[in-house]
């Protein structure tokens, strides 16, 4: 039974004592009595399965409000312990999403976990390492609305077979991106924004049905793209040295240092199989077109000769 098949009040009741959701590849038990949590979970996780059987969830988290009458705060708990300082109560749902990302990043060492967005087409994945201010989340969201499978907007999970594992969850957008995506895609389901977070105004976008339908199949890494939004910049894509890509991605590793030699071998295997690009863009349409040329939907494999560069000219790779 999916979350959407519950009424909001049913979901609220379940959430108050602990609601377990299948958040592939993990299961998450979330407990909260906060109304915004119920509303947003109902909205964002509508297509996710509620776990019926009595199973042990991977992550046991809760969101509680403190200090009801004076500057109320929200606190995130993992295994009954609060790993972070509290945030203003209005950021409770955002804190849940950030907190759950932290859970994945810190407690799933079977995967090499990098800070990166991952999208895919026909089980061929493109990894976009996450440098702040690059516009990665907006781009990821845009690609998702253009029939790309969202594996994650934050965390690349690489398994021992060097495959990317999907972990689709609501996409986090900031500031102007929220309006941009809403305007470009009227069907997009977006939460009420939370203001004055340390990242500015934050909202979350419901992941596409397509992304959830495809989540079980592992993806093969095909390309690594370092996107950078630059205002009024014509689209420019340059190939970069795989060694540079490897080192840069290692820096974006959450548990790279924990896996040690395994991390290096796994990341090397991934990079070996990928073409690596730096992409500068200012137009989302042009960027989407470029990605489409990298992995056209009609063809199952990356064809090197058909990459579009500046001014639409073909790059030879």
């Amino acid at each position: 039974m999916i979350v959407a098949e519950h009424s909001l009040s049913q979901l609220s009741s379940a959430l108050a004592t602990g609601l377990t959701i299948d958040t592939f590849p993990f299961t998450t038990r979330v407990t909260s009595q906060c109304s915004r949590m119920a509303i947003n979970l109902h909205q964002m996780y509508g297509d996710f399965e509620v776990s019926q059987t009595n199973q042990m969830p991977d992550f046991d988290v809760s969101i509680k409000h403190h200090r009801r009458w004076y500057k109320p705060q929200a606190q995130f708990y993992f295994d009954d312990y609060p790993p972070f300082v509290p945030l203003p109560a209005a950021q409770d749902y955002a804190m849940f999403e950030w907190g759950l990302n932290w859970c994945y990043a810190n407690h799933a060492n079977e995967y090499l976990i990098l800070h990166a967005a991952v999208i895919a087409r026909n089980q061929q994945a493109i990894i976009m390492p996450g440098f702040p201010g690059a516009g990665k989340s907006t781009l990821t969201c845009e690609l998702m609305f253009n029939q790309w499978q969202l594996l994650s907007d934050e965390l690349a999970l690489i398994n021992p077979k060097n495959q990317l594992i999907a972990a689709p969850r609501p996409v986090s957008l900031k500031n102007q991106s929220i309006d941009i995506i809403q305007q470009r895609h009227s069907s997009a389901i977006i939460t009420e924004p939370a203001k004055d977070t340390n990242k500015g105004t934050v909202a979350h976008v419901k992941p596409s049905q397509q992304s959830l339908n495809s989540q079980q199949a592992p993806c093969t890494p095909a390309a690594i793209v370092f996107p950078k939004y630059e205002n009024q910049q014509a689209l420019q894509a340059n190939e970069i040295d795989p060694a540079e890509a490897l080192v840069t991605m290692a820096e974006q590793g959450f548990n790279y240092h924990l896996l040690g030699e395994i991390a290096f071998d796994r990341l090397s295997a991934v990079v070996d199989n990928c073409q690596c690009y730096r992409l500068c863009y200012s137009s989302l349409d042009e960027a989407v077109e470029w990605f489409d040329s990298l992995l056209p939907s009609s063809e199952p494999r990356l064809t090197a000769t058909k990459v579009l560069g500046k001014n639409g000219k073909q790059l030879s790779c």
Binding site: N54, M56, D60, H107, E110, L258, G260
Partner: protein
Amino acid sequence: MLTLCQVLTQKTGPKLSINEWDSLVRQARKSLLLAQLAETAQSSETTQLGGNGLPPQVSRHLASARTLANAHQRAVKWEFDRIESALLSVNTKIILLKGAAYLSQQMPHAQHRLYGDIDILVQSDQLEVVEERLKWAGWATTQHSAYDEKYYRRWMHEIPPLQHAKRASNLDLHHRILPPTARITVAGEPLIENAVQSKHYPFFHTLAPADQWLHSAAHLFCEGEADHGLRDLFDLLQLAQHFLNIDPNYLHQVVNRSNQLGTSRLTHYALRYIKYFLWPELSDEHANACMDKPHHLLSALMDKIFIRTLRPQHLSTQLPGTRAAAKLLYFRSHYLRMPWKLLIPHLIKKSLSQDKAAAVG
């Protein structure tokens, strides 16, 4: 006996349900014992815990904890290398304490342990040169107010914690194992004198076997935080079993040494609570042989505190009154650390500075 303790000490019991595993994994993780649980679950011959019989939701988390523990070990061994490099020219015993000592002696449980920082002990007249060499090698004093700095250097058994500028690893440099102002204390010299050279890491020393137990017991039973009491008790159990294999009189030596140095109250508590949580077969003779036993009423109060604060700090196994017990533990640790004329101004000063921090933050 707590289920987690039963499993860790490989006492056989009924097959665990998935709900029990759920609680067990969370209790173990909270207590920094998840990697140890992974090891016990793997090596146990009992069918209910056999490697192939573990539910996948459980084994993936145990495996993840193992990876973390392996990474910690690698990191600590590298720190040994860097500390040696920094202190090569210093001609004094560099004594590893607690976790670092267990790892350097290649004790089996050290492989499944997490390490927060490295503790070393040196002679007090060598403190300045050791600190200086460490600073040249990249360790820096962590941010402290002028008050904290003065407090540490004047009243404590260690200097303010050092953190490496590049690796962010933590190093605690001690000149004694207990503060000089503490109600129960011992000078550094008797322990340093008896320290033995490490077989596997010859640059370093470790405390003599009995002194290692004495120190770990003293550390745990002067502690004010209830984070990982069970882990520390487990360490003490492993220490005892490791050295008893070598010398069956080990616990007698521990008690004699504690009596000699004046820490037998703390050793008494350690023996009492290891028996309660982890080792019911332990003979009472050792705890009874401690000279400074608490009055039976005080003992009853300590029981109420310690059976709450030493257990895993997870809701699934929490007893009523744990918060009160944790507060009492905190006050007790400060009471032990300083006489009243120092303690009261200190607590006032600390609570005022915390209020200021809370108002700003």
